[in-house]
């Protein structure tokens, strides 16, 4: 069998074997509950908005309910699999609750099937990345296929950044081949998690004055905006509040230098100070686009914008790196071993057993063990012991991103140096 097929199949098998037994209750629960709403023709954002209003009313604070706050298209990747699941198991709820700080109620045996089915789009995205990467370099494909961090995010956690990753990769590959409409479409799909929106100025800048190419790109991109337009017409206040309001005014933090904010228990202050990284993000993205947008090769220019947005942006969750990992693997100047930092961070932020809830909830004995372990974990959290490594790893990851950014930006010099030495050789001859 072709090595490329072998790696792809191996990546698939590993993921399928792990998928049913683990999950991040909050995130997978959101997809489960949103799939049900979408399948029943409900408004995805109304539920989140109502919960937000309820939280604000109860607390008197400008809080947001952390539910479905993504591009409307995202859920349609999951809905077919959810529909298939209900065709087998029926419409009864099997994952109930689970939004922080609550723990979910799972109904067996179908909870396993629901978890498995909802991870299939993520697994397919992962496998597609492996397949595409293996077309360039089998070793890089192997790296992605068996990287513990990628496997964890996609099939243990159940987070869908692999879907962003495949569409970003396709965006790059199709732009290279000058398939602008397809590229615009793929890029539009990659914005299902809004952090890739920072690339839009870059693409426009690079295609500026190539009017036909830019037009095709924007046409492809605009197709993906149709559901956005629909929600903007049907429920503008709700949609704006949930998507733009939440994403635009999130309190900073994550695997970055800003997670110190977690020990500042003052949401008003936290919101104010979170404006600083947002301003820096805008300035830095603009600077990179204008200074390097055209000077760098396409791959490096995409990576430089994404990296600078990760370095300065207010929120950098553990899973975000998955989205650019395939591109980093293709870039000779990046060090993809950077995944180790967010991987460590996951286990500092969440107790490892949290992801094993589908297994632990099967028996009262394990259920009890969960709470025993959780008492110790919460003590370590409350006393503040965990915050020290969390902060250290956050800064370390920001610095590693900066290091990679500098390597990518200096591609200009490397390319210049190569050209110079070529000229010198020719002259000598």
């Amino acid at each position: 069998m072709d090595r490329r097929i072998k790696i792809t199949l191996a990546a698939l098998i590993v993921r399928l074997a792990i998928a049913p037994f683990f999950m991040h209750s909050g995130d997978l629960g959101t997809i489960y509950e949103s799939s049900a709403i979408a399948l029943n023709g409900g408004n995805l954002y109304s539920f989140v908005y109502q919960q937000t209003l309820q939280m604000r009313y109860a607390s008197g604070l400008p809080l947001f309910f952390e539910g479905y706050a993504y591009h409307p298209l995202l859920i349609y990747f999951f809905v077919p699999f959810y529909w298939l699941y209900t065709a087998i198991a029926g419409p009864g709820l099997v994952i109930i609750g689970g939004h922080f700080p609550n723990l979910p109620v799972l109904v067996y045996p179908y909870a396993f099937l629901a978890i498995f089915m909802l991870k299939i789009p993520i697994i397919l995205a992962d496998v597609a990345v492996v397949y595409l990467l293996s077309g360039f370099d089998v070793k890089k494909a192997e790296f992605y296929a068996f990287c513990p961090y990628v496997i964890f995010i996609s099939v243990v956690w159940g987070m869908f950044d692999a879907i962003v990753a495949i569409f970003l990769l396709i965006t790059y590959l199709t732009l290279q081949k000058k398939s602008y409409a397809l590229s615009g479409f793929a890029y539009g799909l990659s914005t299902m998690k809004l952090y890739t929106i920072v690339l839009l100025p870059l693409f426009i800048f690079r295609l500026w004055k190539q009017w036909k190419a830019l037009g095709e790109f924007l046409l492809g991109f605009s197709v993906t905006l149709l559901p956005v337009a629909y929600y903007m017409i049907v429920s503008p206040v709700v949609f704006w509040n949930v998507l733009v309001g939440f994403q635009g005014s999130r309190v900073m933090g994550g695997v970055n230098l800003y997670n110190f904010v977690w020990i500042v228990p003052d949401v008003q202050f936290d919101l104010q100070i979170s404006r600083l990284p947002t301003i820096l993000l805008l300035i830095s993205v603009l600077a990179i686009v204008l200074l390097y947008g055209r000077r760098l090769p396409l791959l490096e220019s995409i990576l430089s914008v994404m990296l600078v947005s990760f370095v300065f942006g207010a929120v950098l969750n553990e899973q975000f790196l998955v989205s650019i990992l395939p591109l980093m693997l293709l870039c000779k100047r990046c060090d993809a071993r950077i995944w180790i930092a967010p991987f460590i961070f996951i286990f500092l932020r969440s107790a490892f057993y949290y992801f094993a809830i589908p297994i632990l909830w099967t028996s009262p004995y394990f259920y009890d063990l969960y709470f025993q372990a959780d008492t110790v974990w919460k003590y370590a959290q409350t006393v503040g012991y965990l915050m020290i490594p969390i902060y250290a790893v956050g800064i370390a990851f920001s610095l590693l991103l900066l290091w990679n950014l500098i390597q990518v930006l200096t591609t200009v010099d490397a390319a210049g140096a190569r050209t110079l030495s070529r000229i010198m050789r020719i002259r000598r001859k």
Partner: protein
């Protein structure tokens, strides 16, 4: 790899800017703790509130949790960053006219415009109860005001009280003589600290009961029939126990961590740069 001078300078500026940025931001929690967080109710998390005065730290939990409503901590004078819980009001186990404060009421939490008073409003049909929490320099006041006369059962927890109004041991829950002053000595299990606490009631209760646990008591229950009652809670630590590390110390530690991490980064980057100079081929994987 040959970097142009311009580019090298630009990257150096970027690195220096970022490192200064990291280190400066690491002081934010400390600045907040010293200049912003003092003597005002601040909301955080999923709707919890906290108040730090020079001698007390009071936590009022979010609407999704019935514990710590409020939880009153004292900061020992010899270790001002320590927070030792002296008394916790529990909504899980408190009742008004037979209705559980956590399960049977809708709760909204607001602060006064000056940030000095926290008002938790409990509502259900024909019944409204305000729990107003204010701090003075030497005590914490928890005022309960209802829109009518109500029959209230309040549970006050402390793990563990070694004596309550001079009673040191009982084998079963015991009613103590009715009084408006409850004094207790305590042992804080987590920090092994010992101290004194006092609860002064503004109205005469109908019943006070103490509940034995291990070698002391873990709660005092107060029953009263009235439309208003103020619990004035004060306390002090007589022996601080194992004072070594506190959550409130974190703001002092973060700048140190930031400096250590950025210094390590600079050293590693310098070594990497040196290796690349010596072996240029290594710079490309």
């Amino acid at each position: 790899m040959q970097w142009s001078r311009d580019s090298r300078l630009r990257m150096k500026i970027l690195t220096i800017f970022f490192i200064v940025y990291v280190v400066l931001l690491s002081f934010v929690p400390l600045i907040h703790q010293v200049y912003v967080a003092q003597s005002s109710w601040l909301g955080y998390g999923t709707g919890a509130y906290a108040y730090q005065s020079p001698s007390y730290f009071v936590l009022f939990n979010d609407p999704y949790d019935g514990s710590s409503k409020p939880n009153i901590h004292v900061n020992p004078s010899m270790a001002p960053n320590e927070r030792i819980s002296i008394l916790e009001f529990s909504d899980w186990t408190s009742y008004v006219d037979g209705y559980n404060l956590f399960n049977d009421f809708n709760v909204t939490i607001r602060t006064s415009s000056d940030g000095k008073t926290l008002d938790a409003t409990y509502t259900r049909p024909q019944l409204t109860l305000h729990k107003l929490i204010e701090l003075t320099s030497d005590a914490v006041q928890v005022k309960m005001i209802a829109n009518k006369e109500v029959n209230v059962h309040v549970e006050l927890w402390k793990w563990i009280m070694t004596s309550v109004n001079t009673i040191t041991t009982t084998s079963k829950p015991t009613m103590i003589p009715i009084t408006t002053s409850i004094n207790f000595t305590f042992n804080d299990q987590s920090l092994n600290a010992t101290g004194l606490g006092e609860i002064t009631l503004s109205r005469t209760p109908t019943q006070i009961e103490i509940w034995p646990f291990e070698n002391g008591f873990n709660r005092v229950t107060v029953d009263f029939i009235n439309s208003e009652m103020t619990f004035t809670v004060s306390g002090s630590i007589t022996q601080p126990g194992q004072v070594s590390w506190s959550y409130a110390d974190l703001p002092y530690v973060l700048p140190v961590i930031a400096i250590v991490v950025v210094t390590s980064y600079l050293l590693l980057a310098k070594r990497h740069g040196q290796e690349n100079k010596d072996h240029p081929s290594r710079s490309h994987r």
